[in-house]
Subunit: 479 residues, 4 copies
């Protein structure tokens, strides 16, 4: 329906609260601040004294919960919620979370952010044993594992399940008596715990959701941890000791909101630092620095500050949704593109512009923006990317599953420079990125996952192994 | 439906094109870039070889033209369009423009941006003489004047009408054989002419609409001018010689898009200059400059550049629409507020912040943002407003018609400082504003209208005279 | 969107009430029982102590007033409402009634059922004099005449207007202090007065609306009458003495609900009598009588009773709306037709069927139904039409404005018999129809309008004279 | 949302086709003719060369398939579809059928009409063994049984499942290579096979669906039968020999469309015969016979024919949907009732009326209709019910699961007569009903299920046994 400025997609966002009289409404507020993590669908499961109710639908949160009645119906003191990102094709409400399971002996809500690497084989195994799945999502698998476990308690059954699934995952469960969160052994995906003034505990994919509801930050969930929250407070347990930090670096670069902190590092600050480092690594003589709105504004201001070149608003994003109909002519299509992003002639005309962007995926967007700037009279356009070249797919929760989509997988920097018609092009170095973020975990890359840049995956790839091997031979043709 | 960051409203935007095979689609693109000027409703009237068709509806452009069919039905080589701003109460489709009049002998489309100061008395006079009005808007009046004129040609009838109506207006008409634009004798409202590569002439409220459709700028429409565009090209005529430039300064400060130029001055650049001048007029020792998104980012970056204090993203605006349901408790209401705008704790905590905003209307929003920043740990919040205090109503097309809404009308700067709980507060001076914009017309205030700041109205007020006199005695109580 | 069983359309229905605490809701109930008179749009104007409010929209009543809020907003003790029928092309909300006019000195609501024969010339005259019309409908004309009248009182201005307009009309007006109804000098269109138990007076197009709201019938409005209802009760005045009853016979045959009485004659009973008379005029040897649902069931049962042939349900109408998409093949199109109407194989197989229908317009529907019955195994299908052949257009409020649409205008009965593939075909005679209805006004045809059958129009045709003369030469080709 | 004339609800309708280029569209037509069997939701699963696609949604068929695209997407040569009836509370799309199961090794669509009597215990057993259910419906159970079966072929697995489930059921399955239908051992629910001219085989709940799509009837599906349709034609197998005909008599009385045949008996004819027999069993001196529209018109015409009393249209049903808002006063509520059904004063005034209805459930509707007739002036109202008194719940697919809803369960005929304020009341006898339908299977009641009348259930009640025993002690209080 609309021209996407960026074709990277996050897998989802989760939010939960235990112990608030308006749990579903607070969850609505929390999810709203996580909407950037998923726009395909949204849902909430509430818990009123052990009785679970759910509501979910396709579209933005504000479309799913169009009137107050749907929220009012979700009464209860606790709730979990989920926003899901858009993929083509499987846009069925069956896949919208949280799932609400009603058994003869109990009920359970389940939400998930991430991607399992052994989902396909686990599913096949379970189906051979009579299991029936009702969605395409990986999420359901965990519940089948729990229900088939011979362990005695729910927590033990859950831990057994968590040891069986592989990949990147942040689970949030609502049972009749507790809210439970669990993170993968690498902490690929972010997940934090907070507390409201009334004592209610909160779990959220990003800390911006804590701020929005006025909760204070307690701690991040660590790799291999299970957090159990009930009327007695919160308890931290682990399901495995075989852990190692590999926090998704793309969360810092592009996905997370600038007002979130991940592992104690503010995202805006990290981005500004990337821009500063980039100014040192790849200086250029120019009249102004321009950021691609909105995700690159922090990096651009960092570049400007470190380089001493003034920061200007050379690109303007239209805040209103553009419906791009099928356009009969190429000329109209080009105009459709400009509905989303405009270059400011009055600013860039006759000027040498440093255009700062956070990353390059296919390169088509970069080329279009360079063109917009030149059409508006920019004399030179120097593209500076505040992250290293994206060359490898991700299997832990970001929607790049083939190298075909990645221009840097098959082209050198100077080839890309030409393809996007830039006067010069530079990327941030890997070490520059690591330093700019500034984690210091005792783990490779200071605790970051850098796999999309260098192919160094921190875990086995299981079901994706073959796909990945094949993808190394993919050639992309740049259009 | 939602918490408004700013309660100032523009009266509308107009766009027209003559001589393009996809006139209605191009008009759609143009209007989309003017959507910030009005969100209540939108419409397009197209002209196919003298046959006029129209479509209009309530809501955003993308809601009114939900599918391609409505645009396809508007066939023709010429079209005019309109976006209308939202006011409470009269949200009827009857008021959505362009109006399309079908007479036994001809048809005519009519769109309007502005506000007439003698509408009420003209309407009463016309009704006494048997006229029937079908909308609440002033716009219809011009057509009644035209139809009742004894002049011989349509252009003469129109000019007579234009001499009769008073106030701020930018009219756009589509007759069967021409597209006609007309501007008030003070050029209160902006209006520009452009041309596409295929030769089609374009009229638009702001030049950003020209950029979006790839048209080049020809000239601004001047005060008292009538522009007649037909298959022979464009012609400039005048309906009065009694003209004087009084361009609305709020267009530069708040309304217009940063990528537009008005009277040759780029709006972003003007705003940045306001910020720079403000840094000189009202310096303060601080750790960072933070702009209120999105309208104050230019001024904030100017302040940062001139003061040498780093510019940081201390406030984040959620790009997704927040539906704020009726909230049962004050606590939930407060959270609802944060859904639109968040302070970035990781950036502002423990810091002295200069918060730059473009203007203060009621003051309630400023107080809330100061509070957001303090809640997120800001040590000091120094508010700097990049325009002079708003003290007087506007009768030329901006929706401030009573002084009751204006905190500065009844409070001194130091009182406002206290009311919004700022550590310090300063406004830009009137001369600072005039210099920052930098017009140099031979007219008071170099050709700007400064009436909202100093009550110096460039024209008689007609029907509003009494209201205005009364309003001078209004007291507002700050809540 | 859907296969229409009958292509005759009524012009509208009106309903009004004066003096009920829930006037708008009662009007909703009343209009719902008149929905068969118009499905394109609906509206209500209410009057609360002199303050008029209106709401109108496209679609069925239940779609326009989707939630209770729209009705609740229409507060007041009095209200008038309107349902409008669907015509192609001018489906704009501008044409939906009641119109609500707001003048500087007063307000007025106006609704209309009927068709003016001098609308075009009146409109042209008024426009030449500076009047501006905002809808395509004739209705607005009356208000222009009132506002331009030099008479002293509103009632005198109205009467002058009523003497100026020509044709078939039933007007309903809501002023700030009274509800006023007026009927044309021939009483073409039905209009009745009733009273609720609480004393509230009611005006409605059909008496079924009185029954639905529990009102008792007082009297029909007579030709040339103006009914003025206010807080002092109701008053009958006249605006002309030049009157003559010419009640639309198609109201009895097809349009009106069977539970309505017109001029004291029950519609179901009239239809049953038509069927009885038809059985006498056109007997046939057969096994069963089958009516075309729903409008022909009364006539069919009359035919069965008079002939002694058993009445059977040989045709079933699906009560659910059928959406007939564009069908790729002829086979699928045929199936689409059957979605609306099915022949009952278990009933008609091997049988000789008398198929009774109320009228034949184009003949295509009749042919299809004959075919349905034969496909289901009927041995013979004898078509009996309970009215005379339709040969001439109507200009008083029924949507047949050209003879091209009428199969009987250009084909003899035996030709039609062949065209619709019936084994035999007979129509009711004109005298049979008059006797079956049984009016006894001292006027031609006992007070009925029979013009569509015999071209004997009871008034001059004014603007339609030329069209009509031309139409007499029209040839239709039956498809 | 609306006042229901009858509170009996059918459980669903199914339709399937194998071997037609537009399978989904034909299924749409078929389902449309079965819409009376369920209005809560609808869905279609299509099969294109072994690839299954599905679409389902809440609401009427025309709402679910609002545009042609949803049907076009369901490409393939075969399809099954389902319409589901409305119950309060569980209106989730999760329960809308056909279910589409996608396994690692195959896909399967499943639709169901009926009710299982051992669903609860089967579900509990399966869940204990690790099964996860995703809907509230019984339907899913069969698929779990199939997937857990140790039998070798799909057909053998299915047959084992069919022997495990108990109650009334008509299943329709779409595998990648075949369409399969199965009926319960008592043939409670109707199911027929037909064939289109192009050779395509069709399965439908009622024969009216065959007529609509132009298919010829082949045979009814018998008790205990499995029908397998694939590219080689159709094959009849059985999964049990322990069968006995107990066809639901309420299908003849109320549910089925009059143009359907069940077990070779036309439904309209059966109803007419019930009316004739009723006239003999319960004669009364009166002026007219009036049927309650629409379901009782056949019986009423039978009563009229046998008694010689004229059949009149004394009650009229409004064909337009009535939205009954929450009405502030009792007076308005009463008017709301009349929006659906009106008595015809012009017909019944001063007359002795025989009001024929098909059945009485709670009695409230009967009382209201008697009142409507008396309000319209009927001198006497003699109620004649064309079926025996409903005294017992149904567990095989009709929505009467408690005796509390049944007035005849706790009141004698003369008590009911008084409660509904009738001048006299009679029911058809059980033998009268059996004779009127005229089946002659070698089974109790000639092959009909008469359990709702006499409590003689043809099978054990399994999970319902306890509920049923308790319900025998229920007392209803008539309101």
């Amino acid at each position: 329906m609309s021209y996407e400025v960026k074709s990277l997609n996050e897998e989802c966002g989760v939010f939960g609260i235990w112990g608030h009289p308006d749990a579903a409404r607070v969850t609505y507020f929390g999810l709203h601040s996580l909407q950037h993590r998923g726009q395909e669908g949204a849902g909430i499961v509430s818990n009123h004294e052990g009785k679970l109710n759910g509501y979910r639908g396709l579209g933005l949160l504000s479309e799913v919960f169009k009137d107050d009645r749907s929220l009012t119906a979700l009464n209860g003191e606790s709730a979990i919620g989920h926003v899901r990102y858009a993929t083509a094709g499987n846009g069925s409400v069956d896949n919208i979370q949280p799932f609400l399971f009603k058994f003869y002996d109990s009920s359970c809500g389940l939400a998930h952010n991430g991607n399992l690497t052994n989902a396909k084989s686990l599913r096949k195994e379970l189906e051979k044993d009579g299991a029936i799945f009702h969605s395409n999502s990986d999420t359901e698998i965990l519940m089948h594992l729990i229900r088939r476990s011979k362990k005695e308690t729910f927590i033990e059954q859950l831990k057994e399940g968590l040891r069986t699934v592989k990949g990147g995952f942040a689970y949030l469960l609502m049972t009749e008596t507790a809210m439970i969160a669990a993170l993968d052994p690498n902490a690929f995906r972010p997940l934090s715990i907070g507390q409201m003034k009334n004592g209610a505990y909160v779990i959220a994919s990003e800390t911006c959701a804590l701020e929005v509801i006025g909760a204070s930050f307690i701690r991040d969930v660590g790799p291999g941890e299970v957090i159990i929250i009930d009327d007695n407070g919160y308890k931290v347990e682990t399901y495995t000791d075989d852990t190692q930090y590999s926090i998704c670096s793309m969360e810092y670069i592009y996905f997370a909101r600038p007002d979130s902190n991940i592992a104690g590092v503010n995202v805006h600050t990290a981005r500004k630092n990337m821009g500063k480092r980039l100014a040192i690594e790849a200086p250029v003589e120019a009249d102004m620095v321009v950021g691609v709105p909105n995700s690159s504004l922090s990096a651009a201001s960092g570049y400007a500050e470190a380089s001493g070149i003034p920061y200007e608003m050379g690109l303007v994003k239209n805040q209103y949704i553009a419906r791009t109909f099928i356009q009969p002519t190429q000329e109209l299509r080009e105009q459709g593109v400009r509905m989303k992003l405009s270059a400011v002639r009055g600013v860039v005309e006759g000027k040498r512009v440093v255009m700062v962007d956070d990353s390059i995926v296919r390169g088509t967007t970069s080329r279009r923006i360079v063109q917009l700037l030149k059409d508006a009279g920019a004399k030179e356009v120097h593209v500076r990317i505040a992250s290293p070249p994206l060359k490898f797919p991700c299997f832990y929760g970001i929607d790049i599953q083939t190298r075909k989509e990645l221009i840097a997988a098959n082209h050198s920097v100077s080839e890309i420079e030409q393809l996007i018609t830039a006067d010069s092009l530079s990327f941030l170095s890997e070490q520059g990125l690591i330093d700019a973020i500034g984690l210091n975990y005792d783990a490779p890359y200071s605790g970051l996952c850098m796999a999309y840049f260098n192919g160094d995956y921190p875990t086995p790839l299981y079901d994706y192994e073959t796909t990945y091997r094949k993808s190394l031979k993919d050639k992309i043709s740049f259009v």
